[in-house]
C-alpha cells in the first residue's frame, strides 16, 4: 500500500512507524548521510585519541528563517563554535528535531539542506539524531537540540578563566548583525534592512589563530546577551577587569540605525559568527593580522585590554572620554516606550 504523502509534518511522522522511517530516509539521510549515520544504529561508534571537548545546546529561534540563515544553520554553527571556543577541532554532531505538527515538509527539507551546507563548511559530520513530532501548540514550529564532540590539540589550553592582566581583547568583526537581522523579521516588528545574520562556523578562523599562537588565553562567541554579557562572563571567570573603548568597537551602520530607532544597545545584541579572544599582548598583532585574512575575521580589531583592578568589572571609555560600567544583560532587550 502506498503511504499518503503529506506536505506537512503530521503527528505520525514522529510515531516511529513507516512515516517516521520515510522522513528519516528522505529528509535526513538524503541530505546528511555518512557511514556513521547511515548505519542508523542507536549510537554512533567512532575512535578517538586525545583530549575530547563535548558540548550541547538547544535552538529555539523565532522566526526559523531569517536573512543570512535559518535554525538549521544556526544549530550547526552554534555547536561548532562552542567547540571551537575552547580550541577544539569539531568532529561529530548530533541533531535532535522537535517538530510542531503542521510544519510544512518543504520548510523542514530546506532547514536540513542548511544543516548539510553548514556541516560541510565546518567540516563536521552529523552522526546521530532524533525526531519527535509534538501536538500543534506544544512547540513553536521547530526546536533543534544538538551535541558536539571535538578534539583539543596538544598544547592548547583556552578557558574563560585564563585571562591575564595585560591581555589584549580582540573582537573578530562587527557586532549585533545576527540579533538585528532576526529582530527585523520578527512578527510585529518588521522593518526593512539588507542586513544579514553573521551566522557562520568559526572553527576555521580559530585553527588559524592557534597556528599563530597556541597560547590564546580565553575565547568566547558573544551570542545571546551580546558582547557586553560575554566580556562580563570572562571578567568574572578570570577575576580580572576588562576595559574597552567605544570608538574601537566595529558596528555596522544598519545595526546602529536599528538600535537607535528601537532604543537598544548594540553591545547587548546577539551575534552568531563572531568571537572575542583575550591574548597575550606580544601575540596580539600577529593574531590580528592572521584573523583579518579570514572571511570570518575580516573586521577584526583590538578593542581593549585586561586589567587587574576591580575584578569582574567591565568598563567602557566612551567616545567623549568619560567612562562607564558595562553590565550584563538582564532579560531580553526590549524596545523603549517613549
Amino acid at each position: 500500500m502506498e503511504l499518503l504523502v503529506s506536505d506537512k509534518i503530521i503527528l505520525a511522522h514522529g510515531s516511529g512507524g513507516k512515516l517516521a522511517r520515510e522522513l528519516i530516509e528522505k529528509t535526513f539521510l538524503q541530505a546528511l548521510s555518512n557511514p556513521l549515520l547511515a548505519k542508523l544504529d542507536d549510537s554512533a561508534v567512532f575512535d578517538f585519541e586525545g583530549r575530547l571537548a563535548f558540548t550541547t545546546d538547544s535552538y529555539v529561534v523565532n522566526p526559523i528563517f531569517f536573512h543570512g540563515g535559518d535554525i538549521g544553520k544556526l544549530a550547526v554553527c552554534g555547536t561548532v563554535n562552542d567547540l571551537a571556543m575552547v580550541g577544539a577541532v569539531p568532529l561529530y554532531l548530533s541533531l535532535s528535531f522537535i517538530i510542531e505538527e503542521g510544519l510544512p515538509q518543504e520548510d523542514l527539507t530546506r532547514i536540513v539542506g542548511s544543516v548539510q551546507m553548514a556541516a560541510r563548511e565546518a567540516g563536521v559530520q552529523i552522526v546521530t539524531g532524533d525526531t519527535k513530532v509534538v501536538n500543534r501548540g506544544s512547540a513553536d514550529k521547530l526546536f533543534i537540540n544538538t551535541a558536539g564532540v571535538g578534539l583539543v590539540p596538544e598544547g592548547v589550553d583556552i578557558s574563560g578563566s585564563n585571562a591575564r592582566p595585560g591581555d589584549k581583547v580582540i573582537l573578530s568583526g562587527t557586532i549585533g548583525d545576527h540579533g538585528i537581522a532576526v529582530l527585523s523579521q520578527r512578527e510585529g516588528l518588521r522593518f526593512s534592512t539588507r542586513l544579514k545574520s553573521d551566522c557562520a562556523p568559526l572553527n576555521g578562523l580559530v585553527a588559524e589563530m592557534i597556528k599563530v599562537s597556541p597560547r590564546i588565553h580565553s575565547m568566547r562567541d558573544p551570542t545571546r546577551g551580546g558582547l557586553a554579557t560575554t566580556l562580563n562572563e570572562l571578567a568574572a571567570q578570570s577575576k580580572v577587569s576588562i576595559r574597552i573603548e567605544e570608538e574601537k568597537i566595529p558596528v555596522r551602520e544598519e545595526v546602529r540605525g536599528a538600535c537607535e530607532m528601537l532604543g537598544l544597545d548594540p553591545l547587548y545584541i546577539a551575534n552568531e559568527g563572531k568571537l572575542v579572544a583575550l591574548v597575550a599582548p606580544e601575540d596580539a598583532e600577529a593574531i590580528l593580522k592572521k584573523m583579518r585574512r579570514n572571511t570570518c575575521g575580516r573586521g577584526a580589531a583590538i578593542i581593549g585590554e585586561v586589567q587587574a583592578d576591580h575584578p569582574g568589572r567591565v568598563v567602557m571609555k566612551t567616545r567623549f572620554g568619560a567612562s562607564r560600567i558595562v553590565d550584563m544583560l538582564v532579560g531580553d532587550p526590549l524596545p523603549r516606550i517613549c
Binding site: L189, G321, R324
Partner: protein, 363 residues
C-alpha cells in the same frame, strides 16, 4: 549615520564642554524631566564631563516608573480574567505590582503579550474575535495619540473586542505639581524632547514665566544635551528665564496639532495617580464619553485588591528628585535589574536602572 553621528562628534562635544566651563560661574541644579535623557546622560558619561558647578537631577519622566502600584494591580487583575488577552509594551511586563507582576501572571497561564505598537494589539483583536484584547495604555503625550488612533480604527472597523486601560500621563501638570511642592529647588529644566514634539515648546512657558526657571527642550544625543546645558547655563548666568529649543529638528513651538487633535478626540483630562506623588489634577487621560465602550475598567468586573508599596523602596522619592538612586538602601544590593524591587530599576528609562547599568566607573 545621518542625524546621529552629527550629534556625537567628540570634537564638537569638547568645544561645548569648554564653553560650559567658561560660562558657568554660579552653582546650578539642572533637572532632566525625561527618563530618556537620564539614560543618555548616564550612557555617554555626560555628568563626568560637566564642571563641578553643575548638579544634574533626574525627574519623574519615565512612563513605566510613574505608574502607580494600584494601576499595575488593576492591569494584573484584568489580565487574569478568562478569555482576556492583555497586550502591553515591553518593560511594563516586569514591573512588580503589590503582589505579582504581569510576567508572573503570564507564567501562571494568563495571556499577556508584548507588542511593539498599538497596530499589533489591533491585529491580535482581529485574529481573536471570540476573545477580549485589552491594550495597557501607558506613556506620555508621545504615546497617547497612537493609542487614540487605535481606538478610532477599532471604532471604524466596528470591533467589539478591543479595549484600553488608559494609564496615560500628561507632563506639564506634573511638572507644575513638582515645582509647587517646593521640595526641590531647580535652577533650570531640560524639557523632554519627544513629549515636546507633540505638545510644543510653548507648553513650558508657564515654568519660565511663573517660576522664573529657564527651560530648554533637548534631543537625546550627547550634543543635544550638552547644547541644552550650555543654553541653560547662559540663561542662568544672564538671569533670564525663557523657553528655548535645542532640538529644532524635532520640536516646534506649537507642537503636533494633528496628534493633539487625535488625542483629545478620544481622551479627556482627568486626575491621575503618580507613583510617589499621589493624585495630580488633570495629569491623566481617560476615554471621553463617545469612546467609553473601549474602556476596559468599565467593561469588565475585577478586583485588584488593596495596593501597597514594597518596603524600603524609595522610587517615589527618586521620581520626585528628592533623593537619588544611590540614596536607596536597596540599590544594587537587594534591588538590581535582575531582581527589581521598584519600577525605577525595571524600566529601560528608569533612573535606578540607568545608574546601575551605566554607573560611572569608580563611582
Amino acid at each position: 549615520m545621518k542625524f546621529v553621528d552629527e550629534f556625537r562628534r567628540s570634537e564638537l562635544a569638547r568645544g561645548l564642554i569648554r564653553s560650559i566651563q567658561q560660562h558657568s560661574t554660579k552653582r546650578v541644579r539642572l533637572m532632566e524631566f525625561c527618563g530618556g535623557h537620564t539614560v543618555a546622560i548616564m550612557k555617554h558619561g555626560i555628568r563626568q564631563l560637566l564642571p563641578a558647578t553643575i548638579e544634574m537631577l533626574s525627574g519623574p519622566g519615565c512612563p513605566v516608573c510613574v505608574t502607580d502600584n494600584a494601576d499595575i494591580d488593576k492591569a494584573i487583575a484584568l489580565a487574569r480574567i478568562p478569555g482576556v488577552i492583555l497586550a502591553t509594551f515591553g518593560d511594563m511586563i516586569r514591573v512588580p505590582g503589590s503582589r505579582s507582576s504581569l510576567q508572573e501572571v503570564k507564567a501562571d497561564g494568563s495571556d499577556v503579550r508584548i507588542v511593539y505598537s498599538t497596530l499589533d494589539a489591533l491585529q491580535i483583536a482581529r485574529e481573536n474575535p471570540s476573545r477580549s484584547v485589552i491594550f495597557l495604555g501607558i506613556g506620555f503625550e508621545t504615546t497617547a495619540p497612537t493609542v487614540a488612533a487605535s481606538v478610532i480604527q477599532a471604532e471604524q472597523e466596528g470591533m467589539r473586542n478591543y479595549y484600553v486601560i488608559s494609564l496615560h500621563k500628561l507632563c506639564p501638570p506634573v511638572i507644575k505639581e513638582l515645582l509647587d511642592s517646593g521640595e526641590v529647588k531647580v535652577s533650570g529644566l531640560i524639557c523632554p524632547g519627544h513629549v515636546s514634539a507633540i505638545v510644543g515648546s510653548r507648553s513650558w512657558e508657564f515654568i519660565a514665566r511663573d517660576y522664573g526657571i529657564p527651560c530648554v527642550v533637548s534631543g537625546f544625543e550627547p550634543l543635544d544635551i550638552l547644547q541644552c546645558v550650555y543654553m541653560l547655563v547662559l540663561q542662568i548666568e544672564q538671569a533670564e528665564s525663557k523657553v528655548e529649543i535645542a532640538y529644532r529638528r524635532g520640536v516646534r513651538p506649537e507642537g503636533n496639532q494633528r496628534a493633539l487633535e487625535l488625542m483629545y478626540q478620544v481622551f479627556e483630562p482627568c486626575s491621575a495617580r503618580w507613583r510617589g506623588m499621589g493624585l495630580v489634577p488633570d495629569s491623566g487621560l481617560r476615554l471621553s464619553k463617545a469612546y467609553q465602550r473601549f474602556d476596559a475598567e468599565l467593561a469588565f468586573e475585577f478586583d485588584p485588591g488593596p495596593a501597597f508599596e514594597p518596603k524600603g523602596c524609595i522610587c517615589g522619592e527618586v521620581l520626585r528628585a528628592v533623593k537619588t538612586p544611590r540614596d536607596c538602601k536597596l540599590f544594587g544590593t537587594v534591588c538590581t535589574p535582575a531582581s527589581p524591587v521598584g519600577p525605577c530599576m525595571v524600566s529601560s528609562e528608569g533612573s535606578c536602572a540607568a545608574y546601575y547599568i551605566y554607573g560611572a566607573a569608580g563611582e
